[in-house]
């Protein structure tokens, strides 16, 4: 039995009413716990793309993939976990910030490649995009200033350009390497 790791699936689905419900229902029913789920349009009309992050070992990951493929509205599933990929979340963080603290907060933003996008005499709102750990890092540094409010998206992810984009349907999701 392999270890539980956090896994990222890119799931291409038909853009039809109720598809999100079907996918969410599958994860709930099979006790696959979702850490984050993001859905949005793609460049192809009628095709939406979900990024689903969840914890699973190798066997469970294969079963998640196979169960997703069983759904009529699911077009293609890509387990990005061990592929070279880019993943991003976007977060908005509103922190307390007096005039005296502004320079320090803006320097912190620079270090994290974050941006101040709104400011009032006592507050700054910061936008950051990046992998989850970078967002977590910024949050921990900002916490002493007093975080008033925060919102973040689920992870979105895709493979890097070096990975071949193979749209073929896998004949046997339970691959040989994991069955040995």
């Amino acid at each position: 039995m392999s270890q539980n790791v956090q896994r990222t699936f890119a799931v291409f689905v038909e853009d039809k009413p109720g598809v999100l419900n079907r996918v969410a229902s599958l994860f709930r029913r099979r006790s696959f716990n979702i850490d984050s789920l993001n859905v949005g349009a793609t460049h192809e009309p009628g095709v939406s793309r979900m990024t689903i992050v969840c914890e699973a070992d190798e066997d469970k990951a294969k079963r998640i993939e196979a169960n997703l493929y069983k759904m009529v509205n699911v077009l293609w599933v890509d387990d990005l976990t061990y592929k070279q990929s880019i993943s991003r979340v976007l977060a908005l963080i509103k922190v307390k910030c007096t005039r005296d603290q502004r320079d320090e907060v803006l320097k912190i933003c620079d270090v994290f490649r974050a941006r101040a996008i709104d400011m009032s005499p006592e507050r700054v709102t910061i936008e950051i995009t990046g992998p989850q750990d970078k967002v977590d890092g910024l949050v921990s540094v900002l916490r002493p200033f007093g975080i008033l409010e925060m919102v973040q998206t689920g992870t979105v992810a895709m493979t890097r350009g070096v990975e071949e984009h193979d749209l073929a349907h896998p004949t046997v999701p339970a691959s040989r390497s994991t069955a040995a």
């Binding site: 689905v13 038909e14 009413p17 109720g18 419900n21 079907r22 229902s25 029913r29 066997d59 294969k62 079963r63 196979a66 169960n67 493929y69 069983k70 759904m71 009529v72 509205n73 699911v74 077009l75 349907h169 004949t171 046997v172 999701p173 339970a174 040989r176 994991t178 069955a179 040995a180």
Partner: protein, 590 residues
């Protein structure tokens, strides 16, 4: 595709109501019988039905309709169809839908829905049935426009019967039934971009499987329901005749390999034969065909077949490594895979292994109740064994859920496929009578025997009225022990003999039959069994036999839930005297 029904006028290109298009589509899909119950939101469809060559069977409850469609599908191999109204009509179907889902049975359920402008308003008899049935259907649809009716029903049938079969719900709003549109029908192949049920086995996996089979000293093959679904019974027979590998069947696999074949060991699992489970535990190779390693089959997974390599031939990739880790998964159609393997495996007599199995069989089979005297009592196992002999093993048997279901599996030997219909996965009490009625419509020439307990019979007993109204002939054998027998057995074995909520007061089943204008017979002694069976077979119309059997008998052998497969509770030497054995109280509560 489907040959056009000669009774059907060609109305392609005409403006028809959605209601008409429902039946146009069903007839074109080959439907001749459907089971249902009318109501407000489906009334336009019912009103249009009389124009079409479809026999509608009015059930007494929508659960009956979904079980009948299921029984029809199991007996015929075709898609079964049921129809109900919105709200309670639709929710009443759900038990039957879930039953079909867990046993991979192709049914299409047409439900009425409130008019589309009322959806979401909590209108009278509104239920979100597509939402309700997502987890228990293979797929489902909400149809709100008449133009969608025909293509959706085509897709529904295609999805229901292709790949690993399953139930599909098509929910059609009342306005979509009432409005007109130009009826169009295509017989072209259906291509759904996200649905590809056509898995082909990989060559290297076939090679590895051949190598394992060639090197195995103690192989065993599991025949599951998938063998019959794939039409692989002939291929399996050829494969076994060449390789001499002994076969164990799952409950739903019974009949997929002839019971009388010398290589057939019998049923495996919780109430499987001792020698079968022992052979599994001692095997060095398992070839699992069209089965899914259910917990009732494996017992404790940690100690399951510890020395066996495992080849899993299965159509559904989501079943691979779900419960049992396998060495060689082969995703594909059972028939195709067996035929691919056949030329590459050698003929073999397997003398040592088969002799060993015969040895372990000898000891345990003499404790079989079949070999025990009845001591003047009527044992259920005797009833079923006698029924088997008097029907010459040729009846189409439909069982309910519980003790009688296991006794049937043990004592009615099925040589032919699709002659045992039973709710295996979901274990739905109340399944047998309606499923048996559905089966009779699929196979009117068959002698249909419905075997059920006194508990399960009463769950759907109202369908006796359906038998009477339709004038059909089925035989109902009630194994009446005055208890919810399987639960009572568990209470005896695992709950200190506290019979909580299991003693069951039943009406006089003979009078119940007679009140429906049907024939009722009571049997209290073994000597009366044969005469009752013969009388039932000769009587026109449905017959109910009330077999008053021994009240506190148990099904043996038994692997307690979650226990090791080899640790079976055996039938005590004297019938009816179960020695209390505390080591078996380790079973999980499931």
């Amino acid at each position: 595709m489907t040959p056009a029904n000669p009774k059907l006028k060609n109305r392609i290109g005409e403006s028809l109501s959605g209601a008409n298009i429902i039946w146009e589509s069903l007839v074109r899909e080959g439907v001749e019988v459907c089971f249902g119950y009318p109501g407000g939101a489906i009334m336009p469809a019912y009103d249009a039905m009389i124009q079409y060559p479809i026999h509608h069977v009015l059930t007494r409850h929508e659960q009956g309709a979904s079980h009948m469609a299921d029984g029809y599908a199991r007996a015929s191999g075709q898609v079964g169809v049921c129809i109900a109204t919105s709200g309670p009509g639709a929710t009443n179907l759900v038990t039957g839908i879930a039953t079909a889902m867990l046993d991979s049975i192709p049914i299409v359920c047409i439900t009425g829905q409130v008019p589309s402008h009322l959806i979401g308003s909590d209108a009278f008899q509104e239920t979100d049935i597509t939402g309700c049935t997502i987890p228990v259907t293979k797929h489902n649809y909400l149809v709100t426009k008449p133009e969608q009716v025909a293509p959706t029903i085509r897709e529904a049938f295609y999805i229901a019967r292709s790949g690993r079969p399953g139930p599909v719900v098509v929910d059609i709003t009342k306005d979509a039934q009432q409005q007109n549109c130009v009826f169009e029908w295509s017989d072209d192949e259906i291509v759904l971009p996200g649905y590809r049920p056509d898995y082909a086995p990989l060559a290297e996996q076939l090679e590895e499987a051949v190598e394992l089979i060639q090197n195995a000293k103690r192989p065993i093959l599991f025949a599951g329901h998938g063998v019959m679904n794939a039409g692989a019974t002939g291929a399996l027979l050829e494969f076994i005749d060449k390789t001499n590998i002994p076969v164990a069947c799952t409950l739903l696999g019974l009949g997929g390999f002839p019971a009388s074949h010398p290589r057939n060991l019998g049923m495996m699992g919780m109430h499987g034969e001792t020698w079968v489970n022992k052979a599994i535990q001692d095997s060095d190779l398992i070839i699992a065909v069209g089965m899914r390693f259910d917990d009732r089959v494996t017992g404790n997974l940690k100690t399951y077949a510890p020395n066996a390599k495992k080849i899993h031939i299965e159509l559904d990739p989501a079943e691979i490594n779900k419960n049992v880790r396998v060495d060689v998964p082969i995703v594909g159609d059972a028939r195709a895979v067996l035929l691919e393997l056949l030329p590459h495996v050698d003929k073999c007599d397997r003398k040592d292994w088969l002799t060993y199995i015969e040895e372990i069989k000898g000891g345990s089979s003499v404790r079989d109740i079949k070999n025990l005297p009845d001591l003047g009592k009527l044992y259920a196992a005797h009833v079923i064994h006698d029924l088997y002999r008097h029907t010459e093993g040729k009846a189409l048997v439909v069982t309910d859920v519980g003790q009688h279901q296991m006794w049937e599996a043990q004592y009615y030997k099925h040589d032919y496929p699709m002659k045992l219909l039973t709710s295996g996965g979901l274990g739905t009490m109340g399944f047998a009578l309606p499923a048996g009625i559905g089966a009779k419509f699929a196979k009117p020439e068959d002698s249909v025997w419905i075997i059920c307990g006194d508990g399960g019979f009463q769950m759907t007993q109202a369908e006796l009225s359906t038998c009477a109204q339709e004038g059909i002939k089925v035989n109902v054998a009630i194994i009446n022990n005055g208890f919810l027998g399987m639960v009572r057995q568990w209470q005896e074995f695992f709950f200190g003999g506290r019979y909580v909520a299991t003693p069951l007061l039943s009406p006089d089943f003979v009078k119940i039959a007679e009140a429906h204008g049907l024939t009722g017979i009571r049997v209290e002694k073994r000597s009366e069994v044969e005469a009752a069976v013969r009388k039932a077979e000769e009587t026109d119309g449905t017959v109910v036999i009330d077999f008053r059997v021994e009240q506190e008998d148990s099904v043996y052998p038994m692997v307690p839930a979650g226990a090791n497969l080899q640790d079976m509770i055996q039938r005590p030497e004297e019938p009816g005297e179960q020695e209390h054995n505390p080591i078996f109280e380790t079973g999980e509560d499931n």
